[in-house]
Amino acid sequence: MGIETLPDTREETKGKVEDAFEKNWNVIVWNDPINLMNYVVFVFMRVLAFPKEKATRHMLEVHHNGKSCVATETREKAELYHQQLQGYGLSVTLEQGE
């Protein structure tokens, strides 16, 4: 009978832990014709705790470029932002960065 060895799960676990803490998830907000510009500024201030100037800058980026990356976070935090922003009616996706 051949000798079987248990797979080394340490490397795999280490990888998962590193992934969980790595801030490489981009939160992308997309333009839409219905949400009001000042409402979007309000939502950025409320959810992302942006000062008004930063919130306005990102809102204008959404408006002119079609989208804006409003945060780069750990996956867990990015998912939370994603949910909160969508709860306010914004169109949001997540993208994994480098």
Partner: protein, 177 residues
């Protein structure tokens, strides 16, 4: 419509027409906020419960279902304030009525009204072109149902604008409008 800031609250006065439009919006929201994302109509699901972000994040079916449940709970959590608003509107005289919401409740009301704008647009095919209409002649070329919907969308935009203005203006803390 008259909106004014009172200590710790925002107070509204509505004409009969405005009251009817708002009552219909609140009733629609109350109905739809209770419907599970899996059972809500397709157009509402597309604007309120889009799973595009879940797909882009590579979430599993189970993770997406769980995430949707939480999003549904966020909207369901606004039901109490919407019921309270509806009761206040119904309690006034027929010709006009008022409504008073606390500053804390104003956030939920405003977000719900924004949800209603999204829902109206989705149900009546209002997109970039229709929202860009800036003349009576261009408006008149749209189907009647879209014209009515645009007026309604603009009415709620005005209401949201007023709420944002009052909630962010430090001078209004003293109660002036």
């Amino acid at each position: 419509m008259v909106v004014r800031r009172e200590p710790g609250a925002v107070a509204f006065s509505f004409s009969l027409l405005e009251r009817k439009v708002l009552e219909r919006a609140l009733t629609t929201l109350l109905e739809n906020y209770q419907v599970n994302p899996a059972e809500i109509d397709e157009r509402a699901a597309a604007v309120w419960y889009s799973s595009a972000g879940c797909r882009s994040a590579g979430m599993s079916t189970e993770e997406t279902a769980d995430w949707m449940k939480q999003l549904y709970a966020l909207r369901f959590g606004r039901i109490a304030i919407l019921r309270e608003c509806l009761e206040q509107l119904g309690a006034g005289p027929e010709a006009a009525s008022g409504m008073r919401v606390s500053v804390q409740q104003a956030d939920a009301l405003m977000t719900a009204l924004n949800d209603h704008r999204l829902l109206l647009a989705a149900h009546h095919d209002i997109g970039e072109a229709e929202m860009s209409v800036r003349s009576w002649a261009a408006l008149a070329r749209l189907p009647a149902r879209q014209q009515t919907t645009l007026f309604e969308i603009e009415f709620f935009a005005y209401l949201i604008d007023e709420l944002l203005r009052l909630l962010s203006d430090p001078a209004s803390l003293e109660g002036q409008s």
